[in-house]
Structures are given as C-alpha cells and as structure tokens.
Amino acid sequence: MFAPGSTLWLMRHELRLSWRGLTERRGRGRGRFRTLWLSAILPLILLVTAGLPLSFALRRVQISVSPISVAIAAVIAVALFTLMLSQTLSAAVDALYERADLDLLFSSPLKPRRVLTVRFLAVAVNVFTLVGLITTPVLLPIAVTGHPAWLALEPVLFSVSLAATGAGLMIASGLFRLIGPRRTRTLGQVLAAVTGAAAFLLGQAYNILGRQQAGSIWAVIAKRIADPSFHAPPGLDWPLRAMLGQPLPLLGVIAVGVGVFLLANQLLGARFAADAAAAAGVGTGGGRARAAGRARFSASAFRATFTKEMRLIARDPALISQVLLRVLYIIPLGIVILRQAGTAQALALPGGAGALSLIAGQITGSLAWITISAEDAPDLLSCAPTPTRTLRQAKLLAAILPVAILLVPLLVPLTVMAPLPGVAAALGCAGSMGMTAALNVWWQRPAKRSDFRRARQASWFVTLMELLLGIVIAVATGMIAAGQFGWALIPAVLALVGVLLLSRSDAQVAQALRAAS
C-alpha cells in the first residue's frame, strides 16, 4: 500500500505496534477480543448516551465569546494538555530506554531523522486517538444537527497532542542532560504520574483547601473575570474561537501545536538518538559502586528475601509511578476525612473510611502481584532449600509494609480525633490488604516483572474479585465507622464467604503453577 521506507510506511509500522501493544495490555486470546469489542462498542455507547442527547439539547445553543467561556475553554485546553503531557512524557522516556527496535531502524538505510520524526508523530497520534475515541461520537451528532463548525475541536485536540508530544520530548531530553540516564528513567516516570494526577488534584481543590478557602479563590477568579474592566490576555480567547471553528484562531492553534512539535523534533532529533545510545549503558555507572560496602549478609532466608523484594520495589520506576498515582488519590480523601474528624462533621467519615480501605487494598494488590507472581528468577527459589511458605511470607510483608507505612500517618491522627471511624478504617484497610494479598497468593499468575510496564498481568478474574470484595469490605468499613454494627455484619460475612470460596490450598496453588508452566 505504501512504498517501503516511506514516511507513511513507517507510520503504519509504528501504529501497528502501538495497537498490538494496546491489545496485549489487555491480555491474549479472549482478552484481546474483549479489547477489540470494547473499542467498537464504547463509541457506540457514547453516541447513544451522550452524543444524541447533547445534540438535541445543544442544537439551538450558541456559545458566545465571553470572559467566562474563554476562561473555561482555556482551562479545558490546559487540563487536556496536562493529561496528554503525562502520556507523552512517559512515551518519550520509554523511547529512550526501550530501544531494541530503534537499533534495527537506525542500522537500516532509512534516515535517522525520519525514523525519529515518525516515532514522535506516532506518540501524538496515539494520544489523540484515545481522546478522539471519546470525543468523536459525542461531537459528530452535535455537528450534524446544527454546529458543523464545532468539528474544529478535533484538529484542536490533535494540535494539543502535538504540542504535548513536543513538550514531553523536551522535558525527557532536558532531564537526561540534567540528571543523567538512570535518574531520568525514575524521575520521568514519576513526573508523568504526577502530571497525570495534577488535573485530578486541581479538581479536588475544594477537598484539599477546604470548601471555604477554595470557594473564595474561585469567587475571586469569577469576580475578576466578570469585571467589565477585565481584559483577557491577548490570545487567551483563541482556544475557544478555534474550538468553535473560527478559521484564523484555528489556524493559529494548529500552527502552535505543529510548531512546538517541529521545534522539539528539530532541536532534539539528533540528540535523542545519542541519548538513547547512552541510556543503553545505564547500570554500569561508577556511582553505584558506593553501594558496594553496604552488603548485609544474613543466614535468614526470610530476611534475605524481604530485603531483595524491597530493593526491587524501590528500584522500579514504573511501579513507583503507578503506586504514587494511587497514593495521590488518597491525599484529597485523607484530607477530607481528617478535616471532617477535626470539625466533628462526621457525615463523610464512613464513606471516607470505606474508600480508604478500598484504595489500600488496591495498592497492596499491585505490590503483592509484583512480589508474588512477577518473580524474575523462579527457578532459583525453587531449587533453594528454603520452604515456599517462608519465601511467600517475606514477599507478602514486602507488599504490605510500604502500604502500612503510608497509612499510619493518616490512621493514627484519625483514630485520635475520631476513635470509632479511625479503628473502623484501620480494620477495613487491614481486611482489604489481607484479602488482596491472599488472592494474589492463591491465584498466582507468573510473569516477568518487566511486563508490569505494559500492564498488570494478573488474571482479569482476580482483578475483578479484588475489586468486588474490596467494595464489600469498604461498605462494611463504612457501616462500622457509622456505628451500624449490626448492618455491617452482612457485608463483612459476605466478604468472608467470598474469600473462603476463593481460597486454595498450597497443593492446589502448586498444581496450578505446574499446569501454567
């Protein structure tokens, strides 16, 4: 279809790899089929549930260019840019370190700059595709029923994804230069997670700052915008005008997106290839020799295994960023709970305590999967004289301890300020963490630790059960926190029965592992 070696041919190659990566993320076989099915059905659902109703509601609505609408459009554009940046930054860091195919492409007669341009462009296209999958089914009926110009939102979104790609590349390359290859990998992943959560945290301003303080900030902003003497900075109205399909602003926004992308490409193209080559030597730096004197030999297999797991967790940037992302979601929740406890407005406490137990269980589940199933040297453990039970206990402790350490600063003051909800939250967290840890032991699914980068590879069944039982435990926790002990028995017993039904003996686990190997 395309001439071999051409830009479009390369682009098709990149997009095919991206698509396969996406479907593999959801598993093989039936998992892949599910992804395909969801890709087809999700736009249809959006079309019926959002696109058609909105097209009817908005068919006669005209959006005027007012300070308020300009500000809202600008905030939306910034939020989208931030979300896209988290993905493009992560992709740029990946491109630096996962370079096996880059070696192949660079060793071919293709021009390296073309290879990199296409790779960067593929990042932008992928990010845009994910957003477009959601916006297009909503936008299309609106455009058909009266606002065809609003279709301009799509090129605006693509421009934002181009700009986010350029920015992501520049940040990754800048980090590489500033802090070196090893730290770039860690910091880049963490930064991507934090950037992605920034929009969420912004949306939680009411919870974090308190309704009164946040409200006053928004009030000041609204008042300032509504002031007739207020003049938006030049160009601030362009995102809105571009979204509404006005030609000149639309061209301007596209020019900015394409410009940032091309600038990054021009500035970093050659340097990026050199950085990728330098990243290959990561791990051989002399700086690590400092750790040499800190070896702590121990005759205890439990201690040795626990130490090894903690080291591997601490040195896994992808894992840290994923856990950090979930921790970020705890922050507003924790602040709400503590504020409610402090002001004796205990209405939100039961819900908060339940949600906390659910999140604690989910984080433990991720770590338990990593320590139990994602063992990179299973044969080494199998041929060691150490009992499996000892190894498993050490691995579970390594999964539970970091979460417990995260929870203590929240649970201790909560228990002091509001004893019942505090104890309920602690019990709920313990129950939820124990449940996910146990499920990960009983339903192990061995995989390479490096696979975690693509996605958690636990079986969908375990993931679903973790979530369902986590919700049931959260409900029980909330009821205990509210003092409804009798009612709390129902979900508590349900959770217990669920856990018992899912339990497996050591022999059954061993048999399942043998069958899987």
């Binding site: 030597g281 005759a299 591997l312 060691a384």
Partner: protein, 245 residues
C-alpha cells in the same frame, strides 16, 4: 564411597510426550560428568528433576545418599543448579545477589561475605560488585550467576550449557573454575553442545537419546564400545546417536 548422583528408572512425560524414559545413571563423587545428547533428548529435563524443579512420573534419585524426592530440602542444601539463562535480578548488584542467594541457602554471614569476595575477585567482578546487573554483558551475567551457584559451596554442581554465548576469555575462566571445583572435591555435571569441551574436561561422558542413556563411560570406554580407536567425541557422538554429519 557414596555416589554423587544416582538415578534409577527415571521417567517424565509432558502431556503424552515422553521426555525421560526409564533412565538410570550414576555419577561418582569428585568427577566431572558431561551429559550429552541431541536437542530434545531429555538432558535438561533430567537435570531439572535432579535440581528439584520438576517432579518425575516415576523413578528414584539420590544425591550423596539423600533422597531428592522424599527429602528435597536436604538434597537442595548440597546442590547448585546453573541453567543456560542466568537466574538473575537485573536491578540487584552482584553483591546484593550473592547476599540474597546466601540467605536462601542459610550460609553464615561471615562465611558468605568472605566467599562472595573470593568468588567475585576470582571471576573478575569485584570492581563491578556495586553495579546493577542490568548493564552487564552476557558473560558478566553468566559469571554472576555462577558465583551465586557456588556461594554455598555445593557438593554437586549442575550446569546446563554453561558456556553458551560466552567469549573465549570468559569461557576459559568458567572452565578453569569448574576444574578447580572438581580438584577441591566437588562433583560437576554439565551439559554442552561443544563436544571438544566435554572431550577435554570430562572424566566420564553420558550420551542420552530419546530420554534413555545410549552410552556412558570414559573416552577410551566409548571408543572401545564403538571399535574406533582414534575417534573424536564428535565421531562417537554421531555414531552413537545415529545422527548424520
């Protein structure tokens, strides 16, 4: 003297496929034994069963008199297993890796520390002891894994294709190390496709085919069996396995 390894009537099937078929062989204490055979002959399966990684369908295995199937922990205590793909953690340093492996085998800390230093120096990894394995070459990884296999001073060292992918210098280091272990009284069993290595290093050679022992003995015994006085191991191997050159 107790045999280092005694296998009697060992069988293993995967699904309907027979991997090891009523295999019996003996490895004497203090010898270097080379287990050879074509691809898929059952060498690795046999060794994995001895190392406690697979359960056989039938048979008995003794390691220095310890029953591998009845008391695997006791047998594992004196065995080391080193497969062709190094069993490593990329994000650990060699010293941390040895620390972990020593813990698994319950080696006393002081002894483990001294042994780790000795092994890493011997294998030329001492300067790299604080660097993560992820940046290591194949040879460095193989040597790190080998150090891990030796940290608990095993009486029986089992190696599956230990020289695969190594350059000449590293391969020489590994061969020297294995011979030194044998001189020190350990028993070494290795599989290899490099027949010259087996011919030069092994005290005795076992040739396995279709899961059964096709021939066993010293080079002279194998030559006598085939009636070819000057034959190389390659000649003997091809004749005994019925393969064509």
């Amino acid at each position: 003297m107790t045999d280092a390894l005694s296998i009697r009537g060992l069988s293993k099937t995967f699904g309907g496929k027979v991997a090891v078929d009523d295999l019996s062989l003996t490895v004497r204490a203090g010898e270097l034994y080379a287990l050879l055979g074509p691809n898929g002959a059952g060498k690795t399966t046999t060794l994995r069963i001895v190392a406690g990684l697979l359960k056989p369908n039938a048979g008995q295995i003794g390691v220095f008199g310890r029953d591998v199937l009845a008391d695997p922990a006791a047998a594992k205590q004196i065995i080391a297993w080193a497969p062709d793909e190094p069993m490593l953690y990329d994000r650990l340093t060699p010293l941390e890796y040895l620390e972990f492996v020593a813990g698994l085998w319950g080696v006393a800390p002081a002894q483990a520390q001294a042994k780790a230093e000795e092994l890493l120096k011997w294998l030329g990894l001492w300067e790299n002891r604080g660097e993560r394995c992820e940046g290591f070459s194949r040879g460095m990884k193989q040597k790190t894994a080998l150090a891990g296999a030796l940290i608990h001073d095993p009486q029986l060292l089992i190696l599956d294709e230990p020289l695969t992918g190594l350059d000449a210098a590293v391969a020489r280091q590994v061969k020297d190390l294995l011979q030194a272990r044998v001189k020190a009284g350990a028993t070494v069993i290795l599989t290899t496709h490099i027949l010259e290595v087996a011919e030069r290093m092994a005290d005795r050679i076992g040739i396995i085919q279709n899961g059964r022992l096709a021939a066993e003995g010293t080079m002279d015994e194998l030559r006598a069996r085939t009636g070819e006085g000057q034959a190389t191991l390659e000649d003997l191997f091809l004749e005994l396995t019925g393969a064509e050159a």
